[in-house]
Symmetry: C2
Subunit: 134 residues, 2 copies
């Protein structure tokens, strides 16, 4: 799917609108990846702690304001994904594939789930960071 | 974007997994349509009452169990969209376009918002129902 950017946006990863749009994109991409991984349709929201872990591991922590909390870092991660998709840096298909290939069975584990999601998303964010040159 | 149905599902609109996946798809499609309508990125979750109104107006109320409440009808509506997309009955681009073209400025109104969303979604569900022959 090509980006449908018939609206304006800027490269501001603290933009609340970009984070809100990114939230819907991220949850769709993750739900699709999880459905493919489990072999049946399902949907799940990505926890902020997983997002914070993902951008930390991907070396993109620097894109979030200093001393920002887990929630603020989650918003930044959502804005980054939104921006990358709108710019054509990454497609939905690619994002789904990267997440699916990096999920482990811990994703169904009550306490280890958040970390498993974070680690799979870290691979996606590392790729996005590389492609954006940040 | 072509459906990526590398998982199995059945035509059961009361399936909870299909509804959960449909929830993520619907909120993404709606957020993209709303962003295009408003001209800037944003994201919003579709209220159950809007979904209940949409399937009522589209003549698809019969696909929900009798005496089901607003929440259960919302789940059925989400499952219908998931199924339609997975089957290739409708693409994300088409769904976004139909919603965007049928939104009105009431969507930014505090009390009239839910009805405005429901009316725009009704057009989408009418099209889906027509294409699925239900």
């Amino acid at each position: 799917m090509k980006p449908l950017a018939s609206f304006s946006y800027s490269k501001d990863f603290t933009d609340k609108g970009l984070a809100k749009f990114g939230d819907s994109l991220l949850n769709f991409v993750f739900s699709l990846a999880l459905s493919e991984y489990l072999g049946k349709p399902t949907g799940e929201r990505v926890p902020n702690s997983s997002l914070a872990l993902a951008i930390e591991m991907a070396g993109l922590r620097k894109l979030a304001p200093p001393r920002s909390d887990k929630h603020a870092r989650g918003d930044v991660a959502e804005a980054i994904l939104a921006y990358a998709w709108l710019e054509g840096v990454i497609t939905i298909e690619e994002a789904v594939q990267i997440i699916r290939e990096n999920l482990t069975e811990d994703v169904t584990h009550f306490t280890r789930k958040k970390e498993a999601i974070g680690k799979a998303l870290a691979v996606l964010y590392r790729e996005i960071g590389k492609r954006m040159g940040v």
